[in-house]
Amino acid sequence: MKFRYVLIHMAEYNFDNLKDIDPPEYLSGRILAQIGEHKKRMARINFFLFETAGLVSLAIAAASFKFAIDDFSQSGFYSYASLIFSDLNVIAVYWKDFVILLAESVPLLWFTAFLASIFILLESIKNALKNKKIILLTNKFV
């Protein structure tokens, strides 16, 4: 079979004769569906992780709150604090020392654990809800 020869300048040669192939019409829908599925799968995993983190932090918050209250009552904080009502003049003079004394008597470790666990709990709830929303709404993408 003989073909006709065409002289084409290199600079102008655009391989125009390489035909454009149209992707099948269903392909973009299939890709979006796959992405939707992936998104949903990731959201399910994240939801489970945040749910677990939320429950764990709730348990830690409850326990640390209890320990904080117990330590608080044993720390002598109430006795020191009652000085405000009985010896206000002395406290006014030595207020810096008094503040340090009060701060030292506070069970800081448990309070810190309590506040941190509350923070993690709130973040977990926020992220769990966000992922739940993705799970419920992902069908729109598909």
Binding site: K2, I8, N14, L18, K19, I31, K140
Partner: protein
């Protein structure tokens, strides 16, 4: 879609806009599919590879650095995905001959058809013939030809996409054209 619009779409997609991602997909699906089709050689594989490319794009869109050439970045994902796919299918038998610069020593042994003239004589009866000829090229040459002439990438951009030095890309381009010429001569 110009670069500014593309950037806007990317930012919106990263922020979770499904419409923006759909628009990006709609705009780049055809060129990516065409490139991948020529790498894979058949529509079925091209569909699967294209799907994987856009899923990778969706996953990695956050890593895209604004101001960089998005099309070249996307094509590097497409190229790597296609190469991985072909390797899995063991369709690339010559990869073991590639050196660290991506040069295929096996094809270096093939004698040159002679100095390349300023003008290229090409039998271009119809698109089917051109497609067949390009399809017969080794993947390493095919990608350079398709990226250069079908997608209008510069040699520098091709170098970034294929992670090869500029000079390597240029010599591969030259060899690709030589190979194409040989194939066209042989089909006479």
């Amino acid at each position: 879609m110009n670069e500014l619009e593309t950037e806007k779409m990317i930012i919106a997609s990263v922020e979770g806009s499904e419409e923006a991602f759909s628009e990006l997909l709609g705009f780049y699906l055809k060129p990516v599919f065409n490139f991948v089709f020529r790498m894979a050689g058949n529509a079925k594989d091209a569909e699967d590879i294209t799907q994987e490319v856009f899923i990778k794009l969706w996953k990695n869109l956050k890593k895209y650095e604004p101001g960089k050439n998005f099309k070249a970045w996307l094509f590097s994902i497409a190229r790597n995905t296609a190469i991985d796919w072909l390797r899995k299918r063991k369709n690339i038998s010559f990869s073991e001959f590639e050196d660290e610069e991506g040069e295929n020593q096996l094809f270096n042994l093939v004698p040159d058809a002679g100095p390349w003239p300023d003008e290229l004589a090409v039998k271009a009866e119809n698109s089917k013939i051109m497609d067949e000829m390009v399809g017969k090229l080794p993947v390493i040459y095919k990608e350079v030809i398709v990226l250069r002439y079908k997608n209008q990438f510069t040699f520098e951009e091709i170098g970034k996409i294929t992670k090869r030095p500029l000079n390597t890309v240029k010599s591969q381009h030259q060899r690709a054209l030589n190979s194409l010429r040989k194939l066209l001569d042989a089909s006479d």
